[in-house]
C-alpha cells in the first residue's frame, strides 16, 4: 500500500486543522460546519484531534487534501484516542466524500449506544445504513474503512465487523472525518470523542507478470555450445526446428549424427583446429551456414541437400568436401583456404550460383561429373588440378596468380 495522507496530529494545542500541516499530504479543509456557532476540529496537544466546542444536532466535517487526487479504491485508518461516556456523541470517517450529500462513512458511537458502529452511504442527500452492529469502541482501538468497488468493509483491530457490496458512489472523492449528526439528525457534535493517527493508503499498482511461452515440442530454443577442447554430437537422430545452434570450440568439433534435420534456423560454427561434419544425411534449408576452421575442415556427408542458402567456409589449412551426392541450387559457395582445398564429390551439380575458391597452396577439384551452368566461376590457387572426366560450364575462368585461363582460349 502507498501512504497518500497521514496526520499524527502533533502541534500546538488548539490549532485548527485547517491551519495545520499533516505529516503526509498538503492540508485539511473544513467542508461542513452546520452549527450556529463556529466549530473547528483542532489539535488537542497530545497527538489527537477533537472538536473545539460542543453543539448538539450539528456536524463538522474536514477533508484530507492530498498531493494528487485519490484513486477510487483506498483505505482509511484511525485510532480511537477517546470515547464519550454519553450517548449519541458520534464520530465519522468519510470516504469518496463528494459533498455533504454524497459520501460513504463509518459511523462510530459510544459504548452507551446500540448499533454503535455503522457502515453508511449518503447519496443525493439520502442516508442508507448498509450494515450496523453493536461493537463498543475503546481507547486504542484501530478502525479501518476499506473502500473497493466490489466491497466496502469496516475492520476493527484487523477483524471485519461490517461489509457491503454497495457501490452507488463510484467517484474517488476525498477522505475525511468529522463529528456529529451526519447519519442521524439527533446525534451530537461533542468534544468528548477524539481520534489520532489518521492514515489514508492507496493500492499499489497491479503487478502484471507476463508468463514465458513454452513450446509443446522440444524446439524453439537456442543452443549455444562453447567448449575448449572437444565437442562430439553423435545423436542417432537430431531434430531441431526454428532455433539457433551456436558452437564455438577451440580444438575439435565432430558432428556425426546419422540423421540431422535442420530447418529455418541460423547456425554458426567456429572451430580452431579440426571440424568434421560427417552426417549420413544432412538437410539444410533457407539459412546461412558460416563455417570457420583454422586448420582442417572435413565435410563427409553421404547426402547433402542445401537450398537457397549461402555457405561461407574459411579454413586456414585444409578444406575437404567428400560428399557422395551434393545438390545445391541457387546458393553461393565462398571458400577461402590458405593451404589446401579438396573438392572430391562423386557428383557435383551446381546451378546458377557463384563459386569463388581461393587457395594459397593447392586447389584440387576432382568431381567425377561437374555441371556448372549460368554462373561465374573463378578459382585462384598456386597449384590447381581439375580432374573431372566431364566438366560442363557456360563460363569457367581458372587462374593462377600469374596467369588467366579461360574456356574460350582452350576450346
Amino acid at each position: 500500500m502507498t501512504v497518500a495522507f497521514q496526520d499524527l496530529f502533533n502541534g500546538v494545542d488548539g490549532t485548527d486543522l485547517a491551519a495545520h500541516t499533516p505529516d503526509i499530504g498538503t492540508g485539511w479543509s473544513k467542508v461542513v460546519d452546520t452549527g450556529s456557532t463556529t466549530q473547528a476540529i483542532q489539535l488537542d496537544g497530545n497527538g489527537a484531534a477533537e472538536l473545539s466546542v460542543t453543539e448538539n444536532n450539528q456536524r463538522v466535517i474536514y477533508t484530507a487534501e492530498t498531493a494528487a487526487p485519490l484513486p477510487a479504491e483506498y483505505d482509511i485508518t484511525i485510532t480511537i484516542d477517546n470515547v464519550s461516556a454519553g450517548t449519541n456523541d458520534k464520530m465519522q470517517v468519510f470516504a469518496r466524500f463528494i459533498d455533504d450529500n454524497n459520501w460513504y462513512c463509518m459511523d462510530i458511537g459510544t459504548p452507551a449506544d446500540s448499533n454503535n458502529c455503522r457502515l453508511v452511504v449518503k447519496q443525493n442527500g439520502s442516508v442508507t445504513i448498509l450494515q450496523q452492529v453493536t461493537n463498543d469502541p475503546d481507547i486504542g482501538d484501530v478502525y479501518k474503512l476499506e473502500i473497493r468497488n466490489a466491497v466496502k468493509r469496516v475492520l476493527k483491530n484487523g477483524v471485519e465487523i461490517l461489509s457491503s457490496n454497495d457501490n452507488s458512489i463510484t467517484s474517488a472523492g476525498k477522505a475525511g472525518f468529522g463529528y456529529g449528526n451526519s447519519v442521524v439528525s439527533t446525534d451530537d457534535a461533542q468534544t468528548g470523542p477524539r481520534i489520532r493517527d489518521f492514515l489514508v493508503e492507496t493500492l499499489d499498482s497491479a503487478v502484471t507478470l507476463t508468463l514465458n511461452q513454452v513450446a509443446w515440442a522440444a524446439s524453439g530454443l537456442s543452443v549455444l555450445v562453447n567448449v575448449r577442447a572437444f565437442l562430439s554430437l553423435a545423436n542417432s537422430s537430431w531434430q531441431y526446428v526454428n532455433q539457433m545452434l551456436g558452437i564455438n570450440a577451440i580444438s575439435v568439433i565432430s558432428l556425426l549424427q546419422t540423421n540431422w534435420s535442420w530447418g529455418s534456423q541460423a547456425t554458426d560454427i567456429n572451430a580452431r583446429l579440426v571440424q568434421v561434419l560427417g552426417q549420413t544425411l544432412y538437410s539444410w534449408a533457407g539459412v546461412p551456414l558460416p563455417v570457420n576452421a583454422d586448420l582442417l575442415l572435413l565435410m563427409q556427408q553421404v547426402s547433402w541437400n542445401i537450398a537457397a542458402e549461402n555457405i561461407l567456409v574459411n579454413a586456414r589449412n585444409y578444406f575437404s568436401f567428400n560428399v557422395a551426392t551434393w545438390s545445391t541450387a541457387g546458393n553461393a559457395l565462398l571458400s577461402n583456404a590458405r593451404s589446401a582445398i579438396n573438392l572430391s564429390q562423386d557428383t557435383w551439380e551446381w546451378a546458377k550460383q557463384s563459386l569463388s575458391v581461393t587457395g594459397s597452396l593447392a586447389t584440387v577439384v576432382s568431381a567425377a561429373e561437374w555441371f556448372w551452368r549460368g554462373a561465374q566461376t573463378s578459382i585462384f590457387g598456386l597449384g590447381f588440378c581439375a580432374d573431372d572426366r566431364n566438366m560442363k560450364s557456360d563460363h569457367i575462368a581458372c587462374m593462377t596468380p600469374d596467369q588467366a585461363w579461360d574456356e574460350e582460349a582452350h576450346s
Binding site: M1, D204, A206, V207, L211, Q213, V214, W216
Partner: protein, 154 residues
C-alpha cells in the same frame, strides 16, 4: 519471469488419449501454489493431475483467493506461419489486505466435472514459475499470456 513447463505426463496422455484436453472448449483453470521444497516435478515421473501438484506444493490460502477460469481462450495459427498458438485473456487475482503472500507457481489445468472437487482427474497442462513469492495484499496480481500465446506448437 521464470520458465513455463509442460508436464511430460500431459504430453503422453494427450497423445495416447488417456486424459485429453480440448484447449478451446474444455474448462481450463488457473490456481496458485506455494514454492514448497522444490518446483513441481514435470518429468515423466512427476505430476499429472492437480492432486499430484498440491501434494508437494500446497495451494495458496488467503482472504479473497479463488481459482480463476481462463477467459478469452484462443487456439489459432500464428500469422504467416504454421505455428499453433494457445492464448487467453489476463488472469487477475484481486488485491486483498488479508490475501495470499506466497504464490510461487501458477498451475494451469483442465477441470473435469462440474467443480474442483475431484483434483485427481484434473490434468495439469502447464506450470509457470512466477520467479518469487507473489502477494496480493497491496495490489492486484495479473498473469498475462505472452505474445504468441502461453503454449505454441511450432
Amino acid at each position: 519471469m521464470g520458465a513455463t513447463t509442460i508436464p511430460a505426463k500431459l504430453k503422453k496422455s494427450q497423445v495416447d488419449g488417456s486424459a485429453v484436453i480440448d484447449f478451446d472448449t474444455d474448462v481450463l483453470r488457473c490456481m496458485l501454489v506455494v514454492a514448497g521444497a522444490s518446483a513441481p516435478n514435470v518429468s515423466k515421473s512427476g505430476v499429472q493431475f492437480v492432486s499430484d501438484v498440491v501434494a508437494a506444493n500446497a495451494e495458496v490460502t488467503g482472504t479473497g483467493y479463488a481459482r480463476q477460469t481462463l477467459a478469452g481462450v484462443t487456439v489459432a495459427f500464428a500469422s504467416g506461419t504454421d505455428t499453433v498458438e494457445f492464448s487467453f485473456s489476463d488472469i487477475t487475482f484481486l488485491q486483498n489486505p488479508a490475501g495470499f503472500t506466497n504464490a510461487r507457481y501458477a498451475v494451469f489445468y483442465k477441470r473435469v466435472g462440474a467443480d474442483d472437487s475431484t483434483p485427481a482427474d484434473d490434468p495439469v497442462f502447464a506450470i509457470a514459475d512466477l520467479d518469487s513469492d507473489r502477494s496480493v495484499q497491496s495490489g492486484d496480481l495479473v498473469l498475462k499470456a505472452p505474445t504468441g500465446g502461453l503454449i505454441n506448437w511450432p
